[in-house]
Homo-oligomer: 386 residues x 2
Amino acid sequence: MDATDTLSLTEHSHVTFPQGMVLDCGVALRRMDVAFRTYGALNEARSNAVLICHALTGDQYVAETHPFTGKPGWWDQVVGPGRPVDTNRFFVICANVLGGCMGSTGPRSARDNVTPPAPWGTDFPPVTIRDMVRAQKMLIDDLGIGRLFAVIGGSMGGMQVLQWAVDFPDAVFAAIPVATAAYHSAQNIAFHEVGRQAVFSDPDWYEGRYWERAKIPARGLAVARMVAHITYLSEQALTRKFGRRLQGAAKGSSAAIGMFGDMFEVESYLRHQGSTFVHRFDANSYLTITRAMDFFDLVTDHGGDLTAAFQGTKTRFCLVSFTSDWLFPTAGSRAIARALNRAAANVSFVEIPSDKGHDAFLLEEPDFHRMLAGFLGGCAEHAGLT
Amino acid sequence: MDATDTLSLTEHSHVTFPQGMVLDCGVALRRMDVAFRTYGALNEARSNAVLICHALTGDQYVAETHPFTGKPGWWDQVVGPGRPVDTNRFFVICANVLGGCMGSTGPRSARDNVTPPAPWGTDFPPVTIRDMVRAQKMLIDDLGIGRLFAVIGGSMGGMQVLQWAVDFPDAVFAAIPVATAAYHSAQNIAFHEVGRQAVFSDPDWYEGRYWERAKIPARGLAVARMVAHITYLSEQALTRKFGRRLQGAAKGSSAAIGMFGDMFEVESYLRHQGSTFVHRFDANSYLTITRAMDFFDLVTDHGGDLTAAFQGTKTRFCLVSFTSDWLFPTAGSRAIARALNRAAANVSFVEIPSDKGHDAFLLEEPDFHRMLAGFLGGCAEHAGLT
């Protein structure tokens, strides 16, 4: 990546808002790009739009081959013709989050009013989940959609779903927050902080101005990704996938201990996860987005009472958690369900048995997918969608 | 730290074995130092010796002010006059593990047959938990002790307790493995690997020859310590200690998001934990010892049957786990208890209710301490200790 590269990201489909946006931190972005993809067709009544919100390291390429990695869309099993989020029926939209690195305004974008053009880098202002959602709202308005039939997302995507329901209740008919929480826990903040420190420790970090040297803090970012990846999996999933199997020469009993080149399979897998990640994700975006998650706290935002956040809502909620998810455990979803019930909201809550950990929401989980299709079908009936 | 420093560690009380030891990896150490501390007095029958085995980042300074950090001994609440491991009654020994950095032979020790003298560094051969225990056995023999009244340790210390009971059953009257397991799990190996990669990523790592440049890979080692520290605490402990409290200016709602200088209290705590650690611990030792833990697997060592490891044992076992310990969960101790029962061994197993996570074994836990005192008292009676 060189400095030119960091500015040549406009090949992603996007809309530019020349008026920009004032962020929660007080900084006014002078202009703002929101990159997005759509699948299916908007009906005449403009009533069949489903917004998908992506997670920390996701992007807008939900249900198509990714232009950079060549891999299938990250929710290919969920979104598509005949899939739970059926693109024969729904018009699906997914936008790259503000602060991201796939075409929406973020640390790799050109800084306002700087000649010659240069990226923001670490000077990119901090964004909140609320900022991300307001940028998406501008996109939805621009597309001429008054009300979204549904907003769906897992993990940080689920935080956005909740924020949508809180900030724009009349624009959300149904909300499906998956594997998420109303605030980021102390443990999750701690894991993010470790990742950030790993990036800061990389000799190629250069105080965040790595793009000036045509470098990326690859080792630090890989370590950040590795630690995050462990938190996405359950102990059971790790054990099933790798157990204590060794690769290379060092097999047999513990007496066969090798040098550091000999690895357990889980080590080699993590190194691979770390090293592939750094080529598709910008370190400054990673810092910006983890920070947004850390600061997410709908409870404090509403004077310590989550119920107040949802007072009077007409949105139909379906909360989903997974039994083996220790990053966003069921207790977090249950707390949201309780607050919604106290607000007399329309709420379902399903805990899906799975041993795949937090990642379950991205993987083949037939129970989850059936539930999703069923809930959307029921809501479509109530909304009078044919 | 300069190269001279790394060789001047002989101020720790130690015994030198000029015959050295052949390690499990096949490398013969030409000489071997074992640094150790003792508390209390050995009785005439030499029957009141208690060996304490320390954990990953512990050392031999169990029950006295640490000569480097000036802090109280790491098990000051457990070992001492009138404490659960009562030094008025028992002769307590603790040795720095082989591969450590507090005076026992390890990566900071002078390499065999090299002129001018230079430390081993990353060329220090890999060691196993079994190697550590054999070095301790040589120390115990040297002290003229035929049988230890008890061997006690938590975490990696517990692994050593188990290895003692397996390799030298007649030399161990009572064994107390605390918060440990018969093998290191895939998840735990994964967390260790992240820590190692963080060290390798540090610009001051210099392929492990940092001492030649008078450097330490402080940032990488701090990141390793930070991730490990999170795993030592429970989510409840982190929340109770820090919650989502901010320090500095950025207080109030999530809209008050600050720049990266503004921190949650948990971040500041972790940074402190990381930065103090690097001054008392050697990076190469950290790599060596984490590797030893990763390779620990008593099940595989015994053809997949842990029961075989303990066949015919006369040792009295007391296994201890803590409810909120997710690094070494109760299931691991229960598996050992089952294997011991199948071997018709004398075994107690206590799960202590605690919300302090893995660290509980090092903290004020009155139930644990009462249990320890009670079990040792009962065993002392059986052993005919007055």
